[in-house]
Amino acid sequence: MVYFILKRLVQSVFVMLAVAFLAFSLFRFVGDPISQMTGVETTVADQERLREDLGLNDPFVVQFYRFTTDMLQGDFGFSYRTRQPVADMIADRIPATLELGVVALIISLIVGIPAGVYTALRPRGVLTQGILLTTLVGVSIPTFVIGIMLIFIFGVQLGWLPTFGRNGTVQIGGWESSLFTVQGWRSLILPAVTLGVYQLTLTMRLVRAEMMEVMRSDYIRFGMARGVPMGRLHYRHALANTMVPVITIIGLQFGGVIAFSIVTESVFQWPGMGLLFLESIRFVDIPVMGVYLVVIAFFFVLVNLIVDLLYVAIDPRLRVKDL
């Protein structure tokens, strides 16, 4: 187990380095940070001096080396745009994105799993067909359109929920959370739903497919043959067995959720990392973009690791006796 985790961690470092490298090589093409940092009247000479100061004239390898070594020493640099430490800026935004992502995920699970089970058990029902078609339409509308529609329906027309931002946050330790106030939840719900729609459909379809597969398996038939109550068979036996593939895909998708939160955050002005990242692209704020990507890669790697550990928790066959 320890060996396994260590092995994964070592691999993770490589994944992150590779992401950093790729990220870094792309920044040079995003645009020119200097022209974004300076005003109309700044002279060319001043711009050149700034460029030199920031080390932007150094060869790419040197810049990358500096970026990685600094980062390994815990120095994440300063934003070109706000001059604040990048580490602080990102750290400030992590709770917002994570809470959004996790709540979206949870919504997608608590709706998607029962819907998947239902549609699997009644494959020909009218409701099943309805659910399948609705979700299909749901994922066929681009996220940004869905987001804006939700804002106008629930925020403007009905006036039930806030249209933007993240309100009602509470500081808990170093973590700014919106999960502890009604206000916070009201702000969270629309973006989380928007972000969760795709995930929900995916979860539902996956659970449905796996469930239909598992329901045909011998142990379910044997369970029926010995008269185990149906409810127990469906939820205790069948559902648990669908979880391994479902967790894999959901784990993989969580990375996608975090990445796609860029769109959702921008639509809802949700102050998370994605929004910060978009702003950073606009201002060619290279240090922020770099750290953002590495953080994303880190989350991705972390989620993968958690998924692997969850397998072990779910499936006793994977538990290795000797550590």
Partner: protein, 564 residues
């Protein structure tokens, strides 16, 4: 007690209803073990499933009666039927590997079953479960009950399955091939358990199997099915010993005996005889023409194969798993060497080492006096890749289902550079099909359009088209019915003698090996227990293990066999 009358089951399909069984009559009395035999697809499982009400979708009972005691099983509502299941009827499936929920402990599964049918409290249920496990022969049941299925061996798992079936004291248990996945030792224990339960608890068993030996050994009465209909039913002794129905007679003839060697298997129906057709001769001639080289023997010397066990610790390299341990074996040129042993003993590993699919850790292999390099170092163009061919166990997966028979058969011809003309290749492939007893027109079809036996013929044809000198058959008939098995074995025998092939014949079925092999080796946990001429080995086994195997193999009483 269980009475089935005129039962018919249909499966609606995309192309209309298919009648799986019809006019099935059967009666099972309390405490009786009722055998249900027949070839694959005969409808045996369908009868069982219809009785317990678990026909696989979208099958339905089209007519007939099923009554259990006073209850008309067909008249029950789904809820009532579900209540009856477990309570009065239970079922055991073939594969103990897949019959248990891998994510729940044995205890959970037993307790939930007991509680589903009684008011027992949790602790009462646990007590009962433990008692039950003890009763069916699981030692230390109190502690082992906390285990997950994967922590049990196959035999123990099948016992647990039986425990689950009997824990609610049903009147009838339907056992669908309950021992097919087990090796003989475990099989005999499970069969003994079933017999004991029938005697002591008066549980009736419907024992579904295609193994006539098993039926002969344990069944009180037997029903023979074919193509969805009952051919014959009655006392076991009468049906098997003096069959009325010609089909039953033919079936009995195809069962290979363990105790004597017969020349050829009797085939139930007139199967086409190999090599009869005019084009078949072409193929035969072509093969004989390739016989320039003499017969090749194979010598294995101190062969050891180890597999790395998965690494789980940072500091310890785990001890490798020894699949073959110091195996020395000689296949004489032009003879058949039989290799028997229970599942997991390393038989297939041996075949793979010879064919180069796995690399031995040490030892040498020689084919006709030439060293055979280890798998990793054997070049793609090494002559042995042509000289050694293999017929696999599973005809379903050994043929690429996306290639036509022509593609499959022509591949060795061009690959080994025998025939460069495409038309000639096709002609030869068709001829070879005929040689193995199939219509040459079959060449444009796909494998899934054939039955298992036909596919296995194609597999044999493919092996022959490589002009092999050494043929490995890895359980070539274990996926087939007895009757088809007989055909294939006859075919293999004929071909072997015609073309002077040396053969390594792998099987876990001792009866089959006795009929096929000149010499036999017994493998156990990667070690050779005994090797010698087949007749000697079967008549006077030296090793205890061999004796045990022979004793436990279910056989028909000699008297029931018609004179060969």
């Amino acid at each position: 007690m269980l009475v089935i009358k005129d039962l018919a089951v249909k499966f609606p399909s995309r192309f209309g209803d298919v009648t799986a069984i019809a006019d099935v009559d059967m009666e099972i009395r309390p405490g009786e073990i009722h055998g249900l035999v027949g070839e694959s697809g005969a409808g045996k499982s369908t009868v069982g499933a219809a009785v317990i009400g678990l026909l696989s979708q979208p099958g339905y009972i089209a007519g007939g009666e099923i009554t259990l005691g006073e209850t008309d099983l067909r008249a029950l509502s789904p809820e009532a039927a579900h209540r009856i299941r477990g309570d009065r009827i239970s079922m055991i499936f073939q594969d103990p590997q897949t019959s248990l929920n891998p994510l729940m402990t044995i205890e959970d599964q037993l307790v939930e079953t007991i509680q589903a049918h009684s008011d027992a409290t949790h602790s009462q249920a646990v007590t009962r479960a433990v008692d039950l496990l003890e009763e069916i022969g699981i030692k230390n049941a109190a502690s082992r009950i906390k285990a997950y299925p994967h922590q049990f061996s196959g035999g123990m798992r099948q016992r647990v399955v039986i425990a689950l079936a009997i824990c609610t004291d049903p009147e009838l248990i339907i056992a669908d091939e309950p021992t097919t996945a087990l090796d003989v030792a475990v099989q005999s224990q499970v069969l003994a358990l079933i017999q004991r339960l029938a005697r002591e608890r008066q549980i009736a068993f419907m024992l579904i199997t295609h193994d006539i030996g098993v039926i002969a050994q344990v069944a009180d009465r037997v029903t023979v099915m074919r193509k969805g209909r009952v051919m014959e039913t009655g006392e076991t002794q009468q049906v098997l010993g003096a069959p009325d129905h010609p089909y039953t007679q033919a079936l009995m003839d195809a069962v290979p005996p363990l105790d004597v060697k017969i020349d050829r298997f009797r085939v139930p129906e007139e199967a086409p005889i190999a090599g009869e057709g005019p084009t078949g001769n072409v193929a035969e001639a072509w093969l004989l023409e390739g016989q320039r080289s003499e017969m090749l023997g194979l010598t294995l010397d101190h062969l050891t194969v180890q597999f790395a066990a998965p690494r789980t610790s940072l500091f310890r390299t785990p001890a490798p798993y020894v699949a073959l341990d110091d195996v020395s074996l000689t296949v004489r040129p032009g003879t058949i060497m039989g290799l028997v042993g229970e599942s997991g003993s390393g038989k297939s590993t041996l075949a793979k080492a010879i064919t180069g699919l796995v690399s031995p850790t040490s030892g040498t292999m020689q084919l006709g006096g030439d060293d055979l390099p280890y798998g990793k170092t054997r070049g793609r163009r090494h002559p042995s890749r042509q000289l050694i061919q293999m017929v696999f166990q599973d005809p379903y997966s050994s043929l690429n289902s996306r290639h036509t028979i022509a593609d499959i058969l022509e591949e060795p011809l061009w690959f080994y550079g025998f025939v460069s003309d495409a038309r000639e290749r096709r002609r030869l492939a068709a001829a070879m099909l005929e040689l193995v007893g199939m219509a040459p027109e079959a060449i444009d079809k796909y494998p899934h359009q054939f039955s298992g036996g036909q596919r296995q013929r194609v597999a044999v044809a493919r092996a022959l088209l490589a002009r092999p000198r050494f043929l490995i058959c890895d359980e070539p008939t274990s996926a087939l019915d007895v009757s088809i098995q007989a055909e294939i074995l006859n075919l293999l025998k004929d071909l072997q003698s015609t073309f002077g092939l040396s053969v390594l014949f792998i099987s876990h079925n001792l009866s089959v090996v006795r009929q096929m092999a000149d010499d036999t080796a017994v493998l156990r946990a990667g070690r050779i227990e005994e090797v010698g001429p087949t007749e000697d080995l079967y008549e006077a086994p030296q090793a205890d293990y061999t004796r045990e195997l022979l004793a436990l193999t279910p056989v028909m009483p000699k008297a029931w066999r018609r004179a060969g």
